[in-house]
């Protein structure tokens, strides 16, 4: 769940990170008032939940307060990646000597948080990593062992930063690491972190993403930041298909058949299990397939829940086949999922053997599940067929 820049900065402010003077304006007159309070050149920044503001013209500079109302009116209607501004952040314009990049995020492969630091901030970090790898450090750290400023210091020093700059940067970077862990964030980023001409450091732009599942643990913070319980903060509003998917998951308490996301392809996916959804979705695409949806099933959902999910996907215009694929399951039962998808096909008026391109769910109760699939003539495979290969078979069947 993404925070607006002004919300990220409020979080940073609470933790003592250095910020420029300024606040959010919701009218041209307010922008003028804030600029007058600051008493010098200011920057006006559109508050949207996406990057690319500068390129879109949604960041403007004003030398005097009198310029602000017109700039406010110009910025507000600008669409940035399909989003219009909620408000405009008016901040003092700072004389920058050098820009840095600091980010803490999750490394899914290592299952650890990772600190990324560069002394070449303000630009695309991937470009820096490619062209100037010696200017980017990547440091994993534990969520269990005590966090130490030494980790931050070594990460900064690895890019060649030393002396007083290193000493001044260390507490800022260390604090960002602590913020990341304290609030169950999936991303805490400062880019750029600026060293001003007078040697001070200041956060020019910040970006925070909260793990959506952790919202309940941080209700107080969200309320204090003015983030409503109904604000999903997704890149777009949920589609009718996705809303229906949520309802399917609410059918009963057993297991999960949810996180349905709509795509415009023709292969319906009933997928899941320990990261299996992401892997299988990518595998389908790698084989040239076009998924009609993403979803996650697991935790042994009921037959009814799987049945309703199957019906929902099969009812999606353009979907002619579904692929039912998971990683090896342990608590989810193969036979229960098999019953659900077969029942979903039949209740949709379709022949399971025609509609299910592949059933690849090995694991608990698979022998019982395979009996059901054989009874209905559905092609299935066990764990000797990789998820990648199963995805390929599903895509091939669609073209057959």
């Amino acid at each position: 769940m993404r925070f607006y820049e002004y919300e990220s900065k409020e979080l940073f402010r609470r933790h003592g990170l250095p910020l420029g003077r300024g606040r959010v304006a919701t009218s041209g007159a307010e922008a003028h008032e804030i600029a007058a309070e600051i008493g010098g050149p200011v920057v006006l920044k559109s508050q949207v939940l996406s990057g690319g503001r500068m390129k879109a013209g949604a960041v403007q500079f004003a030398e005097t307060p009198d310029e602000c109302p017109a700039l406010f009116d110009a910025i507000m209607p600008i669409e940035v990646s399909g989003q219009t501004a909620r408000s405009v952040l008016v901040e003092e314009k700072s004389p920058v000597a050098q820009e840095y990049f600091v980010s803490v995020t999750w490394d899914g492969r290592r299952k650890l948080p990772v600190l990324l630091f560069s002394d070449m901030g303000g630009i695309d970090i991937e470009e820096v990593a490619e062209k100037h790898p010696d200017h980017v450090s990547k440091t994993h750290f534990s969520t269990l062992l005590p966090l130490s400023p030494r980790i931050a210091k070594e990460a900064i020093a690895a890019t060649g930063v030393g002396g007083s700059t290193l000493n001044r940067l260390t507490p800022i970077v260390f604090e960002l690491m602590q913020i990341f862990l304290s609030y169950d964030l999936t991303l805490a980023e400062i880019n750029p972190l600026a060293r001003l001409e007078d040697g001070r450091f200041i956060v020019l732009d910040g970006h925070v993403d909260l793990e959506a599942e952790a919202r309940g643990q941080h209700e107080a913070l969200l309320a204090e930041l003015g983030i409503g319980a109904d604000e999903t903060r997704q890149a777009r509003e949920p589609t009718e298909f996705e809303i229906a998917g949520r309802k399917v998951n609410q059918v009963d308490h057993r297991g999960v058949a949810g996180n349905v996301v709509e795509f415009d392809g023709n292969l319906g996916l009933v997928i899941g299990a320990g990261g299996g959804s992401l892997t299988l979705f990518d595998a389908v695409r790698n084989h040239g397939g076009k998924p009609a949806n993403y979803c996650e099933i697991g935790g042994n959902p009921s037959v009814g829940k799987v049945c309703e999910l199957t019906k929902l996907i099969l009812a999606k215009p353009g979907v002619s086949k579904i692929a039912v694929m998971m990683n090896v399951v342990s608590n989810t039962r193969v036979d229960i999922v098999a019953r659900g998808v077969v029942k979903g096909c039949i209740e949709s008026g379709k022949d399971p053997s025609e509609v299910i391109s592949i059933f690849r769910i090995p694991g608990a109760w698979e022998e019982e599940g395979f009996k059901i699939l054989e009874r209905y003539g559905v092609e299935y495979c066990d764990r000797s067929v990789s998820m990648y290969e199963a995805a390929g078979r599903a895509v091939a069947k669609l073209g057959a």
Binding site: R339, K343, K371
Partner: protein, 73 residues
């Protein structure tokens, strides 16, 4: 509506046993059984949710309750 995959057969001998009906209602994790005025009642809408735990067959020994896997028929 009968189940697509599972059927439950309750023998005439135990059909009207009120105590057994209550026990079956208690043990079934997916609410297939109900204790009714006439004894053991089956909620057919839940038949396919049967997890084959056999708690019902153990509660009614001697074949009083049988689980039929229709996909094996």
């Amino acid at each position: 509506m009968a189940g697509l995959f599972i059927d439950i057969v309750v023998s005439d001998a135990v059909q009207s046993d009120a105590a057994l009906a209550k026990k079956l209602e208690d043990v079934c994790p997916v609410n297939i059984f109900r204790a009714s005025d006439v004894g053991v009642a089956i909620d057919e809408s839940n038949l396919d949710e049967c997890v084959l735990c056999d708690l019902c067959t153990e509660a009614a020994p001697g074949g009083g309750v049988r689980i039929v896997k229709l996909y094996e028929a």
